[in-house]
Amino acid sequence: MKFISSNQNQLLSKIATNNGHGEDSPYFDGWKAYDSDPYHPTRNPQGVIQMGLAENQLSFDFIKEWIVNNPKASICTAEGANGFKDIAIYQDYHGLPEFRNAVAKFMGKVRGERVTFDPDRIVMSGGATGAHEMVAFCLADPGDAFLVPTPYYPGFDRDLRWRTGVQLFPVVCESSNNFKITKAALEAAYSKAQETNIKVKGLLITNPSNPLGTILDRETLRSVLSFTNEKNIHLVCDEIYAATVFNKPGFISIAEIIEEMECNRDLVHIVYSLSKDLGFPGFRVGVVYSYNDIVVNIARKMSSFGLVSTQTQHLIASMLSDDKFVDKFIAESAKKLATRHGVFTRGLAQVGIGSLKSNAGLFFWMDFRRLLKEPTLEAEMELWRTIIAHPKLNVSPGSSFHCSEPGWFRVCFANMDDETMRLALRRIKNFVIQAKGQQASAAKKQYGQSKLQVSVSFRRMEDLMMTPRMMSPHSPMVSPLVHART
């Protein structure tokens, strides 16, 4: 951490000099390792492969083709230039009507046209990052809290808390039931907050989940909505990965649930962005969609602090108004994600590494618990440093996602080409085989020292943890301890 003189501390704000930006967390350490030694197929083939960035790079060719065939979408081309002035001058925080219309339509399509979105409720923001901060500013005062199910995206610590003074309070979810959000966990978190005199203003869920890559089923969504209704708190749903659902079961949006259930719509808000579904994080297109008229109004005024460049609004409006393109894109993108996901899961299964069964997102929630020296945070950190140093993969340790159980890692798979993916897979496999080999010889030693009791009980615990849902279907279930015993 940089040394900040006490003089600076007095001259600058607390916000500027504290760690609220969260960049001292290990989530970012991996990035730093990658930045100093990034993999490149020719220039640096031994470098660190970036598997910590949830980007969607699989469908650019498709989009590029559209860009080339639609020069009018750019205000800089000969075809689009006569729109340049009007676009460049337009700074209305309502956003270009065609932009809002196109985004609303896209959001509906991603939800299989099961719900429609009102363009007048679409409020722009500086990416989902800006959207989350804006929502926190609108709904909560400094010191108030949002409940967030763990594990959750580390950026929330900054986005929801840093400048707003709002707190995050975890709703602990566990691997024993695949990290589902249970009513009991919600109630427990709420009570705990109350006990410590923390005022809970809302619940923030991410659906599909980051880092789990799973979607919330109808039952969970209904239960979550009835919980927030009952407690009269806000429900903020980050649906940024909505179009990355690549396998059944299909995505269910909170927008659908509120049509099915009695609820106070003034408490329901959706955060969205084009960064993951379309793969455009650089364009900073964030959306706050609220069912509360006052929130829409206030958020719109706040959006002045992070409007979307009209040049980009224009491009997006053109692209997302092209129905044929959009329909094809949604289908193609899902297919590519499914293929990539499949290759990885099969590859990992070959070395007995499981991951949480998932059907969405740009990552796996990988189960490396068996490779931990012991089930502790320190062991997880040690394993993570080893993974960065040896197979040289920047994966993200579960602790950076506030996971309550050590040994889980988020591994991104959509931010690289096929070649790199194959290499990454090879490196993971080699690493796991090596690590298991080392474990086996360590276990042999243990066995030789008459620690039979311990080995047996360890194996039983393992059996308990490895439920069929969590192991990928083709896993050979090769436990080194089994070998050791026979």
Partner: protein, 467 residues
């Protein structure tokens, strides 16, 4: 409503001020030469629409940039993925060069000290978040841009304490005004963290003098304060007296590498000089590493679209084009300015002498029915409804003297400006007629009254001798 935050509930965003009301009225009935020739002419929006033709012709000559055709088309992908809050290096390089050029290369800037933000709106707010805690204050000279009430105070919780400037000395900042403002803050128990100036000034349209800047610097050194200099109009200086940036003034006093140097921060944007407000390109320049480091991280909440960074890095990188653009742009601004000043002058309305900006600071005190803000509002409403012109009343800019108005001249065609001057003339004539009628009427009434008295007295007198 209690379900929402205090920030959501309060009026601190200042958007019920007349500045915004005027904008709303305009939207309901906007002037269009063909479709709505009697509609309201928008003179309340400080936009620069004078030089788009130049930008458009540049685009026409550089279409490969536009279609991402460089690098075999991989540019699109790279841009789409580029979300590094340090910004596109090429873009920051051309920006610092551009900023130096505007300051006649009297100072140089380093790309590492530049932080990109979503417009100056975001830059100003971000600086407040970095420099002051909720409840602390910044001093700000009046009159000032109404948007500051939102940008600087709303979500940050920072207070603004005015430095009162008077027409008696052309609204210049004086040492005593600074002291008074500081003392006022102390009376209110507010800890002052800095001073925020806009130079060239909005709404005055004038560049700050070296003397003013020196007063500020001395004051800030003495009280250990930050200086935030919003130099968003620096490229619009068209008059003979030139623009002196705060950084130039400090350098002239050999203050580089002293304490105060790390407390001077510049805000800039391409919205006014290049007329590109829609693209949301703002920036903070500071020598203070802690500030730029924090501000860079905060910029995550409002990054500049990479698509836009790419386009503009090419545009600004064309130095030959930019040189001729800035020259021509200034020429056009100067002409427009002269048109408005002389047009108003012909109807007895004076403007504060100005050499920059996209507006004039107009003195209509003599048109007020009384020297009050109520009279100013009355006049403003009348101009809106009778002359169909949306101008900005000085009170919305926190001016301490009623009767001043900000009138924009660069956001419309020449013909529209001519028409607005005509409408103003008609309006002023009608007021003068009304006034002289009123005067005559009141003279008549006074005359009649005195006549009656006289007649009465006369009649009284006449009755005397009949007995």
């Amino acid at each position: 409503m209690n379900m929402l935050s205090k920030k959501a509930r309060c009026d601190a965003d200042g958007q019920d001020s007349s500045f915004f009301v005027g904008l709303q009225e305009y939207e309901k009935n906007p002037y269009d030469v063909v479709r709505n020739p009697s509609g309201i002419i928008q003179m309340g929006l400080a936009e620069n629409q004078l030089s788009f033709d130049l930008l458009e012709s540049w685009l026409a000559r550089n279409s490969d940039v536009a279609t991402f055709e460089k690098n075999g088309g991989s540019t699109f992908r790279e841009l789409a993925l580029f979300q590094d809050y340090h910004g596109l290096p090429a873009f920051k390089k051309v920006l610092v060069d551009f900023m130096a050029k505007i300051r006649r290369n009297k100072v140089s800037f380093h790309p590492n000290k530049l932080v990109l933000t979503a417009g100056a709106t975001s830059a100003n707010e971000t600086l407040m978040f970095c420099l002051a805690n909720p409840g602390e204050a910044f001093l700000i000279p009046t009159p000032y841009y109404p948007g500051f009430d939102r940008d600087l105070k709303w979500r940050t919780g920072v207070e603004l304490v005015p430095i009162h400037c008077s027409s008696l000395n052309k609204f210049r900042i004086t040492e005593s005004a600074l002291q008074e403002a500081y003392q006022q803050a102390q009376k209110l128990n507010l800890r002052v963290k800095g001073i925020l100036i806009t130079n060239p000034s909005n709404p005055l349209g004038a560049t700050m003098t070296r003397l003013e800047l020196n007063h500020l610097i001395t004051f800030a050194m003495d009280k250990n304060l930050h200086i935030v200099s919003d130099e968003i109009y620096s490229g619009t200086v068209f008059g003979s007296s030139s623009f002196i940036s705060i950084i130039e003034a400090a350098r002239e006093r050999n203050l580089e590498n002293t304490d105060i140097w790390s407390r001077i921060h510049i805000v800039y944007s391409l919205s006014k000089d290049l007329g590109l407000p829609g693209f949301r390109v703002g920036m903070i320049y500071s020598d203070n590493e802690t500030v730029t480091s924090a501000a860079t991280k905060m910029s995550s909440f409002g990054l500049v679209s990479s698509q836009t960074q790419y386009l503009l890095s090419n545009l600004l990188g064309d130095k030959k084009f930019m040189k001729s653009y800035m020259k021509e742009n200034r020429k056009r601004l100067k002409k427009r300015h002269e048109m408005l000043v002389s047009g108003l002058g012909n109807m007895g309305i004076r403007c504060l002498k100005s050499n920059a900006g996209l507006f004039c600071w107009v003195d209509m005190r003599h048109l007020l029915s009384s020297n009050t803000f109520e009279a100013e509002m009355e006049l403003w409403k009348k101009i809106l409804s009778e002359a169909s012109l949306n101008i900005s009343p000085g009170s919305s800019c926190h001016c301490t003297e009623p009767g001043w108005f900000r009138v924009c001249f660069a956001n419309m065609k020449k013909e529209t400006l001519k028409l607005s001057i005509q409408r103003m003339k008609t309006f002023v004539d009608s007021i003068n007629d009304e006034n002289s009628e009123n005067q005559q009427l009141s003279f008549c009434i006074t005359k009649r009254r005195s006549l009656t008295k006289w007649v009465f007295q006369l009649s009284l007198y006449d009755r005397g001798p009949d007995r």
